[in-house]
C-alpha cells in the first residue's frame, strides 16, 4: 500500500556536474512520521540531494522513491511541501496570492484554500499579512512565507532546506515548534540545516554528508558518542595527547581538550594522567557529546 512506503527511500543516488561529484551513492531510508536531519558543511551535497528528491535535478546514477512514487514524479510532488534554500517568491504578488498560486498548482480545492491560507500564515507567524506585497517583506518574513507555502495543502512530507537561515532566535524557536507540531501530526520532515543544536533538539535521526558522501547516519544516540569530558589545561603537547588516546577520541580547541567516550568514573584517572604528563588543569567539565562536536569530528578536513 502506498501509505506504508517509507517517506524517502534512495539507493546509490549520485550526481555529478561536468565530472565534479556533488553527491556520491546516497543511500538512506526515512520512515514516515520521522523528523530527519540532513547535515553537512557548505558544498557537501545537501541541496543537491533535495533537488534530486524533487526531480528538479536528475540523478547521474542510483534510484529511489519518495512517498512510494518515483523521484520527481508528479504523484510524489503532489504530497510534498518544499522550502528552498534560495527562498524567492514573486515580489509583485501579495502573500495570500503566493499561497493561492501554490495551492492551485498543488491542486488544493479553492474552497479549502480559503481557510488554509490564513491558517498557514498564522502558523508561520504572518497572521494578518495576506494582503501585503511580498516585496515589502523582510528577508525573515519571506522565509516565513516560504514555510507557509511548504505547509500548504497538508503535505505528507515537508522538505526544508535551511529553514532558519534568515530567522532571528524567535523565528528559530517558532520553526522548532512548527516542526514539533508536524511530527505530532505524523508528517515526515526532511531538514537540511547548519544549526546543529536545533537538529539535535528536534530530529529523530540524521545523516551527515561530506564531499558528496554520507559519513554517518543513524539515530541521535547512535550518532553521538555518549559522554564526554572537557578539560581546560596547559602544558600538554600534541604528543602527550596521543598518550591519552586510550581514554577515548580526543579533540583540541585552544586550551580545551575534549575526550569523547569516558564516563565520570574515569575522570580521576584522566586528571592524574594529565598531571603525570606535566600538564596543569584549570577546569574539568563532564557532559554529553554535542552534535556539533560529533559533526566537527566527522567533517574535519583530512
Amino acid at each position: 500500500m502506498l501509505g506504508q512506503d517509507p517517506a524517502i527511500d534512495v539507493r546509490g543516488l549520485t550526481k555529478s556536474f561536468g565530472g565534479k561529484l556533488a553527491l556520491s551513492g546516497l543511500t538512506m531510508t526515512v520512515p514516515r512520521g520521522e523528523v530527519f536531519g540532513f547535515l553537512g558543511p557548505n558544498g557537501a551535497g545537501k541541496t543537491t540531494a533535495v533537488r534530486l528528491l524533487l526531480g528538479l535535478s536528475r540523478a547521474s546514477a542510483g534510484e529511489g522513491a519518495v512517498l512510494g512514487a518515483p523521484l520527481g514524479s508528479r504523484a510524489a510532488r503532489r504530497r510534498i511541501g518544499y522550502l528552498p534554500e534560495l527562498f524567492r517568491y514573486q515580489g509583485w504578488l501579495r502573500a495570500g496570492e503566493v499561497l493561492a498560486l501554490h495551492g492551485d498548482l498543488a491542486k488544493v480545492q479553492r474552497s479549502s484554500l480559503r481557510d488554509a491560507i490564513p491558517e498557514v500564515l498564522q502558523t508561520a507567524g504572518l497572521a494578518g499579512l495576506a494582503n501585503q506585497r511580498v516585496d515589502t517583506f523582510s528577508k525573515g518574513m519571506q522565509q516565513r512565507l516560504g514555510l507557509a507555502v511548504a505547509l500548504l495543502g497538508d503535505p505528507e512530507l515537508v522538505l526544508l532546506d535551511e529553514p532558519t537561515s534568515a530567522l532571528d532566535p524567535v523565528g528559530r524557536h517558532d520553526v522548532r515548534e512548527i516542526l514539533r507540531r508536524l511530527k505530532a501530526r505524523g508528517v515526515t520532515v526532511f531538514l537540511n540545516s547548519h544549526l546543529l543544536s536545533e537538529v539535535e533538539q528536534i530530529c529523530d535521526r540524521a545523516a551527515v554528508v561530506d564531499h558528496g558522501r554520507v559519513v554517518a547516519q543513524g539515530s541521535m544516540a547512535q550518532l553521538l558518542q555518549g559522554p564526554t569530558v572537557r578539560i581546560r589545561c596547559s602544558g600538554i603537547s600534541q604528543d602527550d595527547l596521543g598518550r591519552l588516546g586510550h581514554f577515548g577520541s580526543i579533540a583540541r580547541e585552544g586550551e580545551w581538550i575534549t575526550i569523547a567516550g569516558p564516563g565520570e568514573q574515569d575522570i580521576p584517572a584522566i586528571v592524574a594522567a594529565i598531571v603525570a604528563l606535566g600538564g596543569s588543569i584549570f577546569a574539568v567539565d563532564p557532559g554529553q557529546q554535542t552534535l556539533e562536536e560529533r559533526f566537527l569530528q566527522l567533517v574535519e578536513p583530512g
Binding site: 524533487l54 528538479l56 508528479r74 498560486l101
Partner: protein
C-alpha cells in the same frame, strides 16, 4: 489546469508591473499623434495645387506603411523583452525552484508562460493596429486592402520573436536571450532588404539570402505579408515590375509558406520544451 494558472500569473505580472498601463498610455499618445498627422494629408499642396484623391491615397498608404513598420519594430522588441525573462528570470531568481517543485509538468509551465504573453500581445496588436487603420481611413479615406491578413501578419511577426526569446530563455540568461532575439530580428530584416536588392538586380545569390532569412526566422517574411495586405494595388504592380523593397512587395505569402510558419512555431516550441525538460533547476 496548470497551464492556465501560469498563464494567469504571467498576465497578472504584466498588469502589476504596470506594463499594460504603460503600453496603452504610450500607444494612445502615438495613435493620437498619428491620426493628427494623417488628418493633415488631405490639406497638403504640391506646387500650389491641393493633392488629388489619388495622391492622398498614395501618400497615406506610404505613410501608413512607415507607421506600421515602426509599430512592428516596437511590437517585436516588446515581445523579445517580455519573453526573455519569462523563464530565465524565474530560474535566475530562484522562483522557479518553488514553482516547479509543485506537481506541474515543465511543459505546462512553459506553455503557460507562452499563452500568458502571447494572448496580451495579440489583443494589444489587434487593438492598436485596428485603431490606426480606422483612424487613417477616417482622416484620409485610405483603408488597407486586406485588413485581417495585415493585422494577423503583424501579430505573427511579434509572436515569432516572442517564441524565439522564450526558447532561448530556457537556457540563456535574461540579458543574453533578449540581445540575441533583437539581433536576430535585425539580421532577418537586413537579410530581407538584401533579398529585395537581389531581386531588383537579378542576382540570385543575394536574392537567396532573403529567402533563407524568411525561413530561419519568419519575422521579415511576416512583415512582407503585412506590407502586401496594407499597400495599394499600384505598389503591387510596381513591385511586380522589379521595384520590390521592404515597403513594396509583389505578392502575399503562399499557403506553403504560411504552413511553414506554423511548423516553425511548433518546432521552436518543441525545442524549448525539450530544453526546459532537460535542464537542471
Amino acid at each position: 489546469m496548470a497551464v492556465w494558472v501560469i498563464a494567469r500569473l504571467t498576465f497578472k505580472e504584466l498588469l502589476r508591473r504596470r506594463l499594460v498601463l504603460a503600453l496603452l498610455a504610450l500607444t494612445a499618445i502615438v495613435v493620437g499623434l498619428t491620426a493628427w498627422g494623417f488628418s493633415r494629408i488631405p490639406g497638403l499642396h504640391i506646387g500650389g495645387q491641393p493633392l488629388t484623391p489619388g495622391e492622398v491615397q498614395l501618400a497615406s498608404s506610404q505613410l501608413l506603411l512607415l507607421v506600421m513598420f515602426m509599430f512592428s519594430f516596437v511590437l517585436a522588441l516588446t515581445c523579445a523583452f517580455l519573453a526573455a525573462p519569462a523563464v530565465a528570470g524565474d530560474l535566475e531568481s530562484g522562483i522557479a525552484q518553488a514553482v516547479l517543485a509543485r506537481p506541474l509538468r515543465r511543459e505546462e509551465f512553459l506553455v503557460g508562460r507562452w499563452v500568458g504573453l502571447a494572448v496580451p500581445v495579440l489583443v494589444y496588436a489587434v487593438l492598436s493596429t485596428s485603431a490606426v487603420f480606422l483612424l487613417v481611413d477616417w482622416t484620409t479615406g485610405y483603408l488597407p486592402r486586406q485588413l485581417v491578413p495585415a493585422e494577423a501578419a503583424l501579430v505573427v511577426e511579434g509572436l515569432c520573436l516572442l517564441t524565439l526569446a522564450l526558447a532561448l530563455s530556457t537556457r540563456l540568461s535574461t540579458m543574453t536571450a533578449g540581445v540575441i532575439s533583437v539581433i536576430a530580428f535585425g539580421t532577418m530584416w537586413l537579410g530581407g532588404v538584401a533579398g529585395a536588392f537581389g531581386q531588383v538586380f537579378h542576382n540570385q545569390a543575394i536574392s537567396d539570402v532573403g529567402v533563407i532569412t524568411h525561413f530561419l526566422l519568419p519575422t521579415d517574411g511576416m512583415w512582407r505579408a503585412a506590407v502586401f495586405a496594407i499597400e495599394p494595388v499600384s505598389s503591387v504592380a510596381a513591385a511586380s515590375h522589379g521595384f520590390g523593397s521592404t515597403f513594396q512587395v509583389s505578392q502575399g505569402p503562399t499557403m506553403a509558406y504560411l504552413a511553414y510558419v506554423g511548423c516553425w512555431f511548433v518546432a521552436v516550441l518543441v525545442i524549448a520544451l525539450f530544453s526546459l525538460h532537460q535542464r537542471e533547476i
